[in-house]
Structure formats: structure tokens, C-alpha cells
């Protein structure tokens, strides 16, 4: 089947204690272990694999890598071949290269982001178990996020120099990894320059998003919540904990997601979002947002620019 879903994100943080407090007590993830190099591992209560977040100590913020899980170990060999046919250099790492994971296939996206594919990761199970489970576990903290849902990457786009790594990433993910396009923003005199691409392998509107920026970096990582009311409550949690909110609760036009954005203590942007928007399928007609409707696509209610949202990255 190839790529199933997002597996984890490895983040750089500048104050590990503050980061642990944020991801455990504000986002409400469960601490599941420490890696061989002191990495701190976390998962959402509704996830079964051992971790979806890796925190690493650094002198700067940002993302080390993003990893997606494939269904079968043999998929790694097939996808490695496809990536190489496409002209992308790959490295197959032995089991254990990623903490508690089997073999890991590494490559670098045209935008410069590091990515791994893996098939096996130690499983510890959902917090509610699998026999006659309750709908939610007791003792959840903060927003009580269910799972890491997607990542949005800021990708270098510089039309004057002929650089568009949003388009290049899109083509690679479509042709070598079997991702589908759900929504896009097209700009330029002929409205044919793809500067935003939302892509999926699951049945949700996006498992990864590519957004344009002067340089590449992390735009945000996003966690799933059930409902609009959970988004409101997430806002309360941020205020209670003096977390810097970037965008208060609102709705996106693109994906229809109900959302709130905020920053972790190192400045990495987080989102909690609710509503799966719609059922994404390989044969779903692609949704296009025009250049003059981009802000309506981003913030559906106001349709107005909020420069830090598009410009601030780590």
C-alpha cells in the first residue's frame, strides 16, 4: 500500500524542561520514553505507536525531520527505487537509527526538509485499550490532543530566481510517493503557478502541506481534536498557561478545518484543529483557491491578511 500516514516529527527545542511541560501539560501528550541521545518521546492518547513527537535539545528552533509510516517493510525498497528513479538520493538506515523503529529510508525534499519512511515502530497501544474501550481516558491534561495529524512545511519560493520548491515537492510526492492533491493555490498571469499544495495519503484533506516562504523551514505541526468546543477550550488552555496565541479560534477555507494556532516555548508553531473537513479520496476533484482569494482560503471568516502567519517560521 505504500505510505500510510504521518509517523512523527523530530523538533529542535532550546529549553528542554519548558518544552516537556508544553507538550505534556499544554498539548496533553503522554511521555513515553527517552531516546539513546536524550531525545524525549511523546504520543497522543489515541495513538498506538510509541511516539509521534521527538524533542531534541538544540541552540535553535525548527524541525530536524518528519517521518511517515509505510504499511510493509518491503514498501521501503520499492519507494527507495521510485525516489532514485525520480533522481532523489536515498539512504537506507538499519533498525534502531530512529528510536524504537525498524529500517528507515532517508531522503531530502527539493525544499531541503529531511524526511524518513519507516514500516515498524514499537507499539504501546491507545490509552483506552482495545477491549470494550471507553471513548476517552481519564486524566487527560491540557488540550487532550488525540494524535499528531499533519505537518505544514514552509518551502522556498522565489519567482525571480525561478525557484518554486512547493511545486517541486508536490511533483515528487505525487510521482514517487503516491500522495494525492486535495487543495492548491494557483498564482501568476496564467494562474498556473502552484504555490500552495495540500496532499494526502489517508482520507483526510491533508497529511502534509507545502506553503511558500522566502526560505524553507517549519510552518507548523498540528494535533487533532474532536470538536469546535475543544478548539475553544484549547484557547482557554493557552491563556491559562501564558502560551503565545498566533491565531485565535477560527475556521480555514482550505480544508474547512476549525483551528487555533500558538507557539511552543521555543517558537515552533503548533495547531490544534477539529473536524476532518471532508472525505478525501484519490478521485476527488482538486479544489483551487485563486490568488485574490488566498486570505479567504486561509482565514475564512475575515478573509484578511495576518502577515505573521505566513512570514513567521522556525
Amino acid at each position: 500500500m505504500g505510505v500510510m500516514r504521518i509517523g512523527h516529527v523530530s523538533l529542535r527545542v532550546m529549553d528542554m524542561d519548558a518544552a516537556i511541560n508544553h507538550y505534556a501539560n499544554v498539548i496533553g501528550l503522554i511521555h513515553t520514553g527517552t531516546g539513546p541521545n536524550g531525545e524525549q518521546l511523546f504520543k497522543g492518547w489515541d495513538e498506538w505507536d510509541k511516539y509521534s513527537i521527538i524533542l531534541t535539545q538544540s541552540d535553535r528552533a525548527g524541525m530536524n525531520h518528519v517521518a511517515y509510516k509505510v504499511e510493509h517493510d518491503a514498501d521501503l525498497d520499492q519507494l527507495s527505487e521510485k525516489l532514485q528513479e525520480y533522481g532523489v538520493k536515498t539512504t537506507m538506515h538499519k533498525a534502531g537509527h530512529l528510536p524504537d523503529c525498524g529500517r528507515a529510508l532517508h531522503f531530502t525534499m527539493p525544499s531541503g526538509h529531511e524526511m524518513y519512511l519507516f514500516a515498524e515502530k514499537d507499539a504501546v497501544g491507545k490509552a483506552v485499550g482495545v477491549r470494550n474501550p471507553a471513548p476517552w481516558p481519564d486524566g487527560l491534561k491540557g488540550t487532550g490532543a488525540h494524535w499528531l495529524d499533519h505537518v505544514a512545511l514552509a518551502c522556498e519560493v522565489n519567482p525571480d530566481k525561478g525557484i518554486n520548491t512547493v511545486a517541486a515537492n508536490h511533483d515528487l510526492f505525487r510521482d514517487a510517493l503516491g500522495f494525492y492533491l486535495s487543495e492548491q493555490v494557483l498564482v501568476g498571469p496564467d494562474a498556473d503557478i502552484r504555490v500552495v499544495a495540500f496532499m494526502f495519503r489517508t482520507t483526510t484533506p491533508h497529511d502534509i502541506a507545502f506553503l511558500p516562504n522566502e526560505k524553507s523551514g517549519l510552518h507548523h505541526i498540528s494535533f487533532f481534536l474532536d470538536s469546535w468546543h475543544d478548539i475553544l477550550k484549547a484557547g482557554d488552555v493557552m491563556a491559562k498557561n501564558n502560551v503565545k496565541i498566533d491565531i485565535p479560534p477560527t475556521r480555514h477555507g482550505i480544508t474547512r478545518g476549525e483551528t487555533i494556532y500558538f507557539f511552543d516555548p521555543s517558537g515552533n508553531r503548533n495547531e490544534t484543529f477539529a473536524g476532518l473537513g471532508y472525505l478525501a479520496q484519490p478521485d476527488m476533484p482538486v479544489i483551487t483557491w485563486d490568488e485574490d482569494q488566498t486570505w479567504r482560503g486561509i482565514f475564512y471568516h475575515t478573509g484578511e491578511a495576518h502577515a505573521p502567519f505566513t512570514e513567521v517560521i522556525t
Binding site: 532550546m14 529549553d15 541552540d59 535553535r60 528552533a61 525548527g62 503565545k244 498566533d246 507557539f263 511552543d264 516555548p265 521555543s266 517558537g267 515552533n268 508553531r269 502577515a307 505573521p308 512570514e311 513567521v312 517560521i313 522556525t314
Partner: protein, 117 residues
């Protein structure tokens, strides 16, 4: 209401030379945090975590206490010469600063446009 005369919270004046703005900042608040809370716009507001770098400023006068700032945005040499991220700088005296961050030009242009009206 302004209770600063009661001396309950120690506050210092921060002055932004680029826009000729002044505002008060309590010792417990970052320069950027205090500015944003007052609805002022002289320094670009970003992540407030020392990670994104858009609030980069040069301290010209005064003392600040700093916390973690991304080396990707403030080099060791810059830090030694008083360059800080305003979101991670806490005043310990009256401060005079100039903006060096990402959107510096836009802000100065905006302020000039406003003052010429």
C-alpha cells in the same frame, strides 16, 4: 488606569529609535510582550519564543536580561554586541533600541507614511 505611581511593579521605559516610540515595560515582561500588550507595533511580533527571529533588535543603551535565543538568528558575535530578540529580552533599566529584524523596512516605511499624513 495607571498604577505605576504606587511602585508595585518595577517598570522601565523602552524607546524605539526607528519610530520614536516609547512604552513602559515591567521587569517581568519581555520588551516585545509589553509592547504587544499595549497595542504598539514598533517591533515585529512573531513566535515570542526566541525561535523565529523577526523581533531582532540592537540595544543601544540600557541593560536587559536575556533568555534562550536561536543561534540561527543571533550569532555569538551579535549577542556580544547587544543584538537580542525582543521577545527574550527583559529590561533592567531604561532601554533604547533600534530594530534590525525581518520587517524593519516595512515598519519604518509604515511609520513614515503615518507621520506624513
Amino acid at each position: 488606569m495607571d498604577f505605576s505611581g504606587l511602585k508595585g511593579i518595577v517598570k522601565h521605559i523602552t524607546q524605539i529609535t526607528d519610530t520614536n516610540e516609547e512604552f513602559e515595560c515591567a521587569e517581568g515582561k519581555s520588551i516585545l510582550g509589553a509592547m504587544v500588550e499595549l497595542g504598539r507595533k514598533g517591533i515585529t511580533s512573531g513566535c515570542h519564543g526566541g525561535g523565529c527571529g523577526v523581533c531582532k533588535v540592537q540595544i543601544l543603551k540600557g541593560d536587559v536580561k536575556t533568555e534562550n535565543m536561536s543561534r540561527a538568528h543571533v550569532s555569538a558575535d551579535e549577542a556580544a554586541s547587544g543584538v537580542v530578540l525582543a521577545c527574550k529580552a527583559y529590561p533592567r533599566s531604561a532601554v533604547v533600541l533600534t530594530v534590525t529584524g525581518l520587517l524593519h523596512k516595512n515598519i519604518v516605511r509604515g511609520a513614515n507614511a503615518k507621520s506624513s499624513k
